[in-house]
Point group: C2
Chain length 155, copies 2
Amino acid sequence: MNRKNTREIERKFLVKRLPPEVKRARSYTIAQGYLAAEPDDRHVRLRKRGDAASLTFKTVDGSVREEREIQLSDKQFRALWPGTRGRRLRKVRYQIPWNDVLVEIDIYRGKNNGLIVAEVEFPNRAACRKFRPPDWFGREVTGEKRYSNIQLACE
Amino acid sequence: MNRKNTREIERKFLVKRLPPEVKRARSYTIAQGYLAAEPDDRHVRLRKRGDAASLTFKTVDGSVREEREIQLSDKQFRALWPGTRGRRLRKVRYQIPWNDVLVEIDIYRGKNNGLIVAEVEFPNRAACRKFRPPDWFGREVTGEKRYSNIQLACE
């Protein structure tokens, strides 16, 4: 859901068990790394999803994000990617429609192998507040640094 | 001199007075801003030089830099540029050949109006040590945070 240059409202949860919907969900592998990350969650991320490469700028203010993304050519991506050395992660993402929202489940690989996290993005604050997590969701970890992708990539 | 994906050795000086060579030097206007900057000088910079847009990743270790740069399309640049709000600077750069090296003089505009800085880039450490500054150079400020472009853009 990171395709738009706009502001986002998201919540993040650990996943207790994978739901049956995972079996027929769309999935793809993501490799991402961070060129620079400020302590207050302002960062520039490189991502490869299949053959599609992108560069994303994000700032975070509470649960509201400003996000700006561009697609990169393969040549552009290859020139910058070495700069993310030691700040990378890999995960498989499953997209599961759930009532009115899209739940994205990330199963981490590599050094974070075993970690499973669900992210839900909302069109507005009211929808964010009204959301009732399904019973296969575990603890909410929205805003917890420990489970930020930057932390997981750099630790 | 920021065209290569390689490591750089540079020295930076204040400029006491502009040399006569400035009159016939190549010059161009630079607008640049920072998407993200870590305290230890790891950052991502957007730059527009005339019509040419670029994105540069830099890390600094002492006087040696790792630098990776890509050219951006106008569309890519316009998508990211708003993310540098409040972290921008403008300057006019003059390029002056000086013995075996190229001296770049930056005359700052906008909020840093009046500041003039010279940068010299060297092919190796020996050339860096041997360099004798011309008499129109002022104090050396290599490595001084106060005169880093990030500091000048964000202060």
